[in-house]
């Protein structure tokens, strides 16, 4: 298991380095003159040159890259070109917002998706199964942003149970924090619930038909214990979907953050792109890749724990 983990971590680090290199050079290629975007159109050439010197743009690109990489390796992502505040400090403010919403959305997806998947998988063809499948088709077909707007109009504007926009940090108010991330999380979770439920349902149906299930039942095990065994064997498919969904939600959060005006990574990415703030974009890229690597590693470990054969794959 240790070797398995080490291999996965090494591939994750290689991915991180490769994507960072690609992002660095692509960003510099796409943003020809960041000083114009950063200083505005009223800045004189001398002011632009001074800023270029201040942020090191006057050096060869490879020197800039090495400088960034050597500092990033020590978790120093430099300062934002826009406000000269440390990138890490700003990420520390923005990351919890996006993580809060995405994690909550994943939790909602997992709980409801697994429950629906199990119930419908254990009783395929029943009226409940048909209702859930019908709901699933509808949910899957509805555009996420439209669902978000309906939720806002109903639960925030009419009933005033939740705020329509904004984010409250948990350090200020746990209740306020939960209320501020509930609607965005539900909006993000709806599509995922359908995917998880469908995957798990099919896996449960497939496992239920296995000989070992009949053997367990013939030995007199309770239905609950048998179902737990089925769930364990059927879970890899659902876990994979949940993990992929978490990664997908990180990018999906951009739209939700805009609709609910949340100051998360999505908003920061938009601003940084418009401003040509390359250090911030690189910081966002690194932190996003770290999440992707960690989630995949966690998934591999869980799958390896569930099914030892995976560890030697």
């Amino acid at each position: 298991m240790l070797l398995f983990t080490a291999k996965r971590m090494l591939s994750g680090i290689l991915l991180l380095v490769a994507v960072s290199i690609g992002t660095f050079f692509l960003a510099h290629l796409a943003i020809s003159d960041p000083t114009a975007a950063l200083l505005g159109t009223t800045a004189s050439p001398a002011q632009q040159a001074a800023l270029a010197e201040k942020i090191g743009l006057d050096r060869p690109l490879l020197v800039q890259f090495w400088d960034w990489l050597s500092h990033a390796a020590l978790l120093d992502f430099g300062v934002s070109w826009r406000n000269f505040q440390p990138v890490a400090d700003q990420l520390a403010i923005k990351v919890p917002v996006t993580l809060s919403v995405v994690t909550f959305a994943t939790l909602i997806t997992a709980v409801i998706g697994v429950a629906f998947g199990m119930i419908t998988g254990l009783r395929p063809g029943t009226w409940f199964d048909r209702i859930i499948k019908g709901i699933s088709v509808v949910l899957f077909a509805l555009p996420g942003f439209w669902v978000s707007l309906v939720l806002v109009m109903w639960l925030a504007v009419q009933l005033k149970w939740f705020p329509a926009v904004g984010y409250v940090p948990p350090t200020q108010s746990v209740e306020g924090w939960l209320r501020s991330i509930t609607l965005p999380a539900i909006s993000l979770a709806l599509g995922g619930i359908v995917a998880v439920a469908e995957q798990l349902r099919n896996a449960v149906i497939a496992q239920s038909r296995q000989d070992w299930v009949r053997t367990l039942r013939s030995r007199g095990l309770s239905a609950t214990r048998v179902n737990l065994h089925i769930l364990r064997n059927a879970s890899p498919a659902a876990l994979t979907v949940i993990a992929l969904m978490f990664v997908g939600l990180l990018s999906g959060a951009i739209v939700v953050e805009q609709i609910f005006s949340l100051p998360g990574l999505g908003q920061l990415t938009n601003q940084s792109s418009q401003n040509g703030d390359i250090p911030m974009l690189l910081g966002i890229t690194v932190i996003s890749i770290v999440f992707v690597v960690l989630i995949n590693l966690l998934l591999d470990l869980v799958l390896g724990w569930i099914n030892p054969k995976v560890r030697v794959a």
Partner: protein
């Protein structure tokens, strides 16, 4: 002259929509006399503050943020005329080479230090050096302290726009200690009517302010509580207002009917113009554009009202002038000068020697795609073949002025002298090489404007405006409105030149 990113300005023009109206309508109370005014002002702004450091900040949407924590030396009235603020009065020298300002002595920075002549001079020097704020002080040689409550601005040449630009948002006074500490971007220290509450604010999401009880101009800022929420998405902003989280918003005309149903007040005013910027009036870059008939043909070929209806949902005024509709200079009668007439346009083009049109390259950016079909249709009808060079917005601002003409949306100014300067005579991103001096009609009129004063100057600007229309200096299609919704009991006065007005223009009532 950038007070807002051009990209944003263009996007706004597309999203704003309203039936054509005269610009400068004061906020009209929605039959709610007797309604209690709220004590809390919660603003839904379009953009986040670009920087709490006034030297790095834009003007466009930064007004509410910066005017909360800083006092300006000079403010503007609703028509763009300078009015006293920290400077109680000023005197322009007879030779126009210095301006003496009397500084009030009862203002205090939130760090406890008094606002005095030394602090004002330090702030002005800092602003002059600023990449964005420096635009106001291009003709300043020095700032001098005359005595404890008087400073003098020494100029290298007459500058008719400096007081206007200072009032627009380029004269915020900062604590000298915070300038020295280079901490303004994170912790703004001013003498304004409110203090930023960093503990409860969430950068990029919501900013909360504490009222300064003994502010010298407290009556101008009646709200006991202030919060500003940057909400870029128009629907989110509207929902926030519907749910009661905000009570003032930068609005979208699509919600006008609902605003009326809700009993909100509606205020609107023109903010910028859309059309073709012609950078070459001599034929240096494109020979045809050097001919008056060709430029006039480009004016006849566009149906401004139709473009406004299609792209801007009618939110504005079809006009061919760059002076704000409803102002002292804009003459509605001139709007008929180039009433849509494609046959006349073709005739003029033939007279100029281009009966089959000509070829031209123009830049294009995603932001301006919404105007591209209108432009293509009109130009194609004239036989003008356009090669579109696609680029991203930052590159557009860098490269577009190198083309003989390009589509743009440019913010306007409420001040007429500033309009002459910023649209015509001074170097701007969209006008890097002003060529008005090479035009024998325009050049003497500009000279007349620059040498005249008072009513004589106003008359000269009116004459210049007429000439600019006759000379088809641009192909202006329309001026777009900004619209604002406020809850009952709150009034907002739009100001041309500010995409979102400063706090002094948001009042109870």
């Amino acid at each position: 002259m950038k007070r807002m990113p051009l990209a944003i300005a263009a996007a706004l023009a597309a999203t704003l929509a309203l039936t054509s109206c005269s610009g400068g309508t004061a906020p009209a109370p929605s039959d709610d006399s007797g309604v209690d005014s709220p004590d809390a002002l919660n603003i839904g702004n379009f953009l986040d503050v670009t920087s709490w450091d006034p030297s790095l900040a834009d003007i466009g949407f930064d007004g509410p943020y910066l005017s909360a924590v800083y006092d300006a030396l000079i403010a503007l009235d609703k028509d763009g005329n300078p009015i006293p603020s920290l400077a109680t009065e000023w005197t322009v020298a007879d030779d126009d080479l210095s301006i003496d300002l009397d500084i009030r002595t009862d203002a205090v920075f939130s760090d406890g230090t008094p606002v005095d002549a030394d602090a004002v001079v330090k702030s002005l020097e800092y602003l002059k050096a600023g990449a964005r704020s420096g635009e106001a002080y291009l003709n300043v040689s020095s700032f001098e302290k005359v005595d404890e409550d008087t400073i003098s601005i020494r100029l290298t040449q007459r500058d008719d726009t400096i007081l206007y630009l200072m009032g627009l948002g380029r004269s915020y006074v900062m604590s000298p200690a915070s300038i020295d500490a280079d901490s303004l971007g994170k912790e703004p220290i001013g003498s304004g009517p409110y203090v930023l509450d960093s503990a409860t604010s969430v950068a990029g999401a919501e900013y909360h302010f504490t009222k300064v009880d003994d502010h010298w101009d407290a009556k101008t800022y009646p709200f006991a509580e202030l919060s500003i929420f940057p909400i870029t998405d128009a629907t989110a902003r509207h929902n926030a207002m519907l749910s009661g989280q905000i009570n003032v918003q930068y609005g979208d005309v699509a919600n006008l009917e609902q605003a009326d149903q809700q009993g909100w007040n509606v205020a609107q005013r023109v903010s910028g113009w859309a059309g073709l910027v012609i950078t070459d009036h001599t034929g240096a870059k494109s020979e045809p554009l050097g001919k008056l008939e060709v430029r006039q043909a480009l004016n006849y070929a566009f149906d401004g009202a139709a473009v406004l209806a299609a792209v801007g949902s009618g939110a504005g005024v079809a006009t061919n002038q760059v002076f704000p509709d409803g102002g002292a200079i804009n003459d509605p009668a001139l709007n008929e000068t180039y009433a849509y007439n494609i046959d006349k346009a073709k005739e003029l083009l033939a007279d100029a020697g281009y009966p089959d049109g000509f070829e031209i390259s123009m830049p294009m950016s995603p932001i301006f795609e919404m105007w591209k079909p209108s432009a293509e249709q009109a130009l194609n009808e004239l036989g003008i073949t356009v090669t579109w060079d696609n680029m991203q917005m930052p590159d557009y601002q860098l490269n577009a002025p190198n083309y003989p003409m390009f589509i743009s949306f440019l913010a306007m100014d409420g001040n007429d002298v500033a309009t002459v300067s910023r649209q015509l005579t001074s170097v701007q991103w969209f006008n890097p090489e002003p060529d008005y001096a090479k035009n024998e009609v325009i050049a003497p009129l500009v000279e007349k404007v620059q040498s005249a004063r008072g009513d004589e100057q106003t008359a000269a600007i009116q004459e210049l405006n007429q000439a600019l229309v006759d000379q088809a200096w641009w192909s202006v299609w329309y001026q777009a409105n900004n619209i604002y919704y406020t809850a009952a009991g709150i009034q907002l006065q739009p100001v041309v030149g500010m995409m979102f007005p400063t706090l002094r223009y948001i009042t109870q009532g």
